[in-house]
Amino acid sequence: MTISRQAFLHMSGLSLLAAAVRRAKGAISGTWWGMAIDVAKCLKQENCTKCIVACSQAHNIPSIPDRSHEVRWIWKDSLGHVFPSQVDEYSALRTLPAMLLCNHCENPPCVRVCPTEATWKREDGIVDMDWHRCIGCRYCMAACPYGSRSFNWMDPRPYIHNPNPEFPTRTKGVVEKCTFCTERLAAGRPPACVEACPEKALVFGNLADPHSPIRELLAARRHIRRRPELGTGPDVFYIV
């Protein structure tokens, strides 16, 4: 193929322009997803696992009985474990449970270390994953300071009791985690866990919009994030 100098210059100019327009559009439409977890509201219903069940059902998460091989997208742990340096021994919160999921960090270490770009930061802030590209080296799991990633130590399919045909199942040997329900967001629906919560304790929204409910909630209420001192910039906030 031959190409004249003029045509080349035209094409370069146009593509630069297109790139600039795309960037400007992104900045204006500005969507940056985040979540706020109202710990007190979440505690209202003791032993409630509705968000976990909804997530597992939506994403074909296997229920593996062996704890060391478990796959988790959203789960519960005590606040003492979630915030080891912020909840002291006199705090009543210490033993109370809180929900845990991927923090969809602003500056995610897992994305930085992945050798195949099988996990990446989307323009709307979500840390996404390609399960077909992942080589299963588990470097992202070593890099994540929150323990938010799970590995398929075995074929997960025999452990999926009620498969959802709308969502892919995974194979053995790949890493997975919460994706903020990208498939539901694309259809204009909130994440499955948010929809399932009977107390509306999980507030999902656009952090880039100063008038969004999540921004108003964060402006009004005291909140903390998991290990912000690491510079990862978690986009999951805990209202305590």
Partner: protein
């Protein structure tokens, strides 16, 4: 081919040794096939301790590979002639070690069939990408250098001049492979045991102790099994290198302890505490770490006192101690302990399973096999008359 005719003519003892290695290799391979089918669940790894023996062996062996530079540098840069006989042994040891490193990475992968994704989607912001580049490059450099210089030796001529810059390049390259391997760990925000700037220097120091220690043991073994003699001067010079490197390595480890326990920042001390005294009653690593420490201290006594170091038997004991001590430190402790406690404070212990151990032994057998064949070739070349009629050493020809 690469003088392979030399490798197929050997004594009964040689073939017996090859058969033993082949059996271990076969057992490891059978276990690997099982792992391929069932997944990494057959290992002792878990969602809390995601890297274990495989990655730890890789880390340790990168050091052994890098340590070839401790022979190459004095010989080629300083024209230290006593290393003339063992330079090729160092280079061949590096080749065997790098191949083992690559195999250990490979068996650790959940989806080994996708390994080429690392090249299809090159990702410069991942240290693993750079590790692949540096290891592959190092293997190529050493293979070319060893082949060209050995061939020249066989022909009784000086090696071609174009090999000189390649040899010089291999020196910083050796340092780079272990630095990049340390960076693989020391840049992760949540793993306090690794999050230390001294990790790369520490890796290099321990590498320059364990690698030459292994080389001394190999030389002594060769002189017992074959007519080969490395020469007393070469062995003693290597011993001094081991002594310095081991002392520096121990010093570096002690600085880690000072920072962690004097600052008393809990998360910096927790993994170290787990290694040596255990956490919440979980003490599986402690006997190993104490063994490693005692061996390190004892080996330093034997190495630092000239009278002991000059005694070849005691030197062999000291080298064995150095190798074992650093193998425990890097080949088990350092990798596993960084995952304890987990980010959520859970203390999950790791113990390799039998198939996992067999896979590890299988890869060590591959390394031993490569080393045996390469050493056989090198020694056979030297037994032929051309070697004796060709006095110019490789270093002389180059400098």
């Amino acid at each position: 081919m690469f003088m392979f005719e030399k490798a197929v003519a050997g004594s009964r003892r040689y073939w017996l040794w090859i058969c033993v290695l082949a059996i271990i290799l076969g057992a490891g391979f059978a276990c690997y096939l099982r792992q391929l089918q069932a997944g990494l669940m057959i290992t002792g790894l878990s969602r809390d301790v995601t890297w274990g023996l495989y990655i730890a062996q890789f880390t340790f062996l990168v050091g052994v590979a890098a340590s070839a530079v401790m022979v190459v540098l004095p010989y080629y840069l300083h024209n230290f002639k006593a290393f003339g006989r063992i330079a090729i042994l160092g280079e061949f040891l590096a080749i065997a070690a790098v191949v083992m490193c690559m195999l250990f990475i490979f068996v650790d992968m959940g989806q080994p069939s996708r390994v080429l994704n690392v090249l299809l989607y090159p990702t410069p912001h991942s240290m693993m990408f750079w590790d692949m580049i540096s290891l592959g490059g190092y293997l190529a450099l050493n293979a070319v250098i060893a082949l060209v210089t050995l061939r020249a030796e066989r022909e009784g001529v000086a090696p071609p001049r174009w090999i000189e810059p390649i040899i010089i390049l291999s020196i910083p390259w050796a340092v780079s492979i272990h630095t990049v391997t340390a960076f693989l760990y020391s840049g992760l925000p949540g793993r306090s045991l690794w999050l230390t700037a001294i990790l790369a220097p520490r890796f290099l120091a321990s590498a320059f102790a364990s690698g030459p220690a292994l080389l001394i043991l190999l030389c002594l073994l060769l002189s017992r099994l074959t007519g080969f003699s490395a020469g007393r001067e070469a062995i003693q010079k290597l011993a001094i290198i081991v002594t310095y490197a081991m002392a520096i390595s121990v010093f570096f480890v002690l600085t880690e302890f000072f920072t962690a326990f004097y600052s008393q920042i809990p998360e910096h001390a927790e993994s170290l505490r787990y290694m040596f005294v255990g956490l919440e009653g979980h003490t599986r690593l402690a006997p190993w770490m104490w063994t490693s420490s005692i061996l390190a201290a004892a080996s330093l006594v034997l190495l630092l006192v000239p009278r002991y170091r000059h005694n070849q038997k005691l030197l062999a004991v000291a080298c064995g101690m150095v190798f074992l001590s650093l193998w425990i430190d890097k080949g088990i402790g350092l990798i596993v302990a960084a995952f304890v406690p987990s980010p959520l404070g859970a203390v999950t212990e790791y113990a390799p399973t039998l198939p996992e151990i067999l896979i590890v032994l299988g890869i060590w057998a591959v390394g031993a096999l490569i080393l045996t064949v390469l050493y056989k070739i090198a020694l056979s070349v030297r037994e032929t008359p051309a070697f004796f009629s060709a006095p110019p050493s490789r270093a002389e020809a180059l400098t």
